[in-house]
């Protein structure tokens, strides 16, 4: 199986761990990733004009045209922006992929005795038009492997990452609410959530969902 791949800026720099982990997992699932040639930034949410953000994503979709039917975008902001403009290409987030594909991997370790707080944050769940299909996929995976799920009250809250380089006090307060109302390792799939929560985590574990998958497969990033 082959998927078109849009890594996005974060996965090439501060979110490199997520990018590497995802590539490793895709390799194990025998999914070939074909990177969109000469892609540009999706604009995240840093443009004041919506039309500018849409134009950046249209350019990316244009570059992907004719190269495949399905485009994989692991960064929640990229996935949201690309989903908004894609018409003849289906844009999917890794969490949109069928759950059975993960569960079919050769799992070597279970999660018994461990506690996790799956944290989706904002853009994987909102706006609903671009949300992932199964908003409980991380919980299902943890429970399947015998782990305990916590943090039901915080799973869809905002980490305030958008204010991390604007007014970090807001980010700190929002992250502390998340940390204070949940237990165990915080599982994220967003490079910005990872950085924001980790910044204020005071030693609490924060991991990408890909880290969890690799752990169960006894693999390293």
């Amino acid at each position: 199986m082959e998927l078109l791949y849009f890594p996005g800026c974060s996965l090439e720099s501060s979110g490199k761990r997520l990018g590497k982990g995802l590539r490793r997992i895709m390799e194990m699932l025998r999914v070939r990733l074909k990177e969109v040639p000469d892609w540009n930034c999706c604009g995240a949410s840093e443009y004041e004009e919506r039309a500018q953000i849409l134009a950046l994503s249209r350019r990316n979709i244009e570059k992907a045209r004719g190269l495949g039917d399905t485009l994989l975008a692991p960064c929640p902001a990229c996935a949201k922006n690309l989903k908004e403009v894609a018409k003849d290409i289906e844009v999917v987030h890794p969490l949109d992929l069928p759950f059975s594909s993960y569960a079919s991997l050769n799992i070597k370790r279970d999660l018994k005795g461990k506690v996790f707080t799956p944290f989706y944050g904002c853009l994987l769940l909102r706006p609903k038009e671009t949300a992932i299909k199964n908003p409980y996929i991380m919980e299902e995976f943890v429970e399947l492997l015998g782990g305990e799920v916590d943090g039901e009250r915080v799973r869809n809250l905002c980490c305030g990452g958008a204010q991390l380089f604007r007014e970090k006090e807001i980010t700190r307060r929002l992250c502390e609410r998340i940390l204070g109302r949940s237990r165990g390792t915080i599982l994220v799939f967003c490079p910005l959530c990872h950085m924001a929560i980790k910044t204020f985590s005071a030693g609490r574990s924060v991991a990408y969902f890909t880290d969890l998958l690799l752990y169960t497969l006894d693999e390293e990033v």
Partner: protein, 153 residues
């Protein structure tokens, strides 16, 4: 002047005036806004009303300054009004963009992508002045230094 401003905000946010004017004033947006969990008192409904009525906007209003773009208001709004996009438009109209946003766009303009080293260098005075130095050690793993191959489980 005021009529001009609402048109500009509407156009930048990609929502027609008719999509913004449908606000019912129910304030459900305020009830879910995370800024209200941070000890601030914000109400997107009041901001929309001020815009519609052409009233002067308080440029230091915490909502404009601190909106985190989480779309919780949009999700709950009966009309799905995209308040975060209205806020971004307002930041532009009122000249309230951050050093980080400017550096981000400058990087995309120059390289087509966000080069984080470029953004950090461009925002260095802001980072130093606002006390980000204390997080640098913690952030080393994000630039590929430190951080283990094994995950934190």
């Amino acid at each position: 002047m005021q009529a001009q401003r609402i048109k500009e905000v509407s156009s930048l946010s990609g929502q027609g005036l008719e999509e913004l004017f449908v606000c019912l004033g129910c304030k459900i947006c305020a009830s879910v806004c995370p800024l209200n969990d941070c000890g601030l008192e914000v109400n997107p409904r009041d901001l929309l009303t001020a815009l519609f009525l052409g009233e002067p906007l308080d440029t230091e209003a915490p909502l404009i300054e601190f909106c985190v773009g989480c779309y919780r208001c949009t999700e709950e709004c009966p009309w799905g009004i995209r308040v975060p996009e209205v806020i971004r438009a307002l930041r532009s109209v009122l000249g309230l963009e951050s050093a980080f946003e400017r550096a981000f766009r400058s990087s995309v303009g120059r390289y087509g992508r966000v080069r984080e080293c470029y953004v950090i260098l461009k925002t260095l005075p802001f980072l130093v002045k606002r006390g980000y130095g204390r997080y640098l050690v913690r952030w080393l793993e994000y630039v590929g230094l430190g951080g283990s191959k094994r995950s934190e489980m």
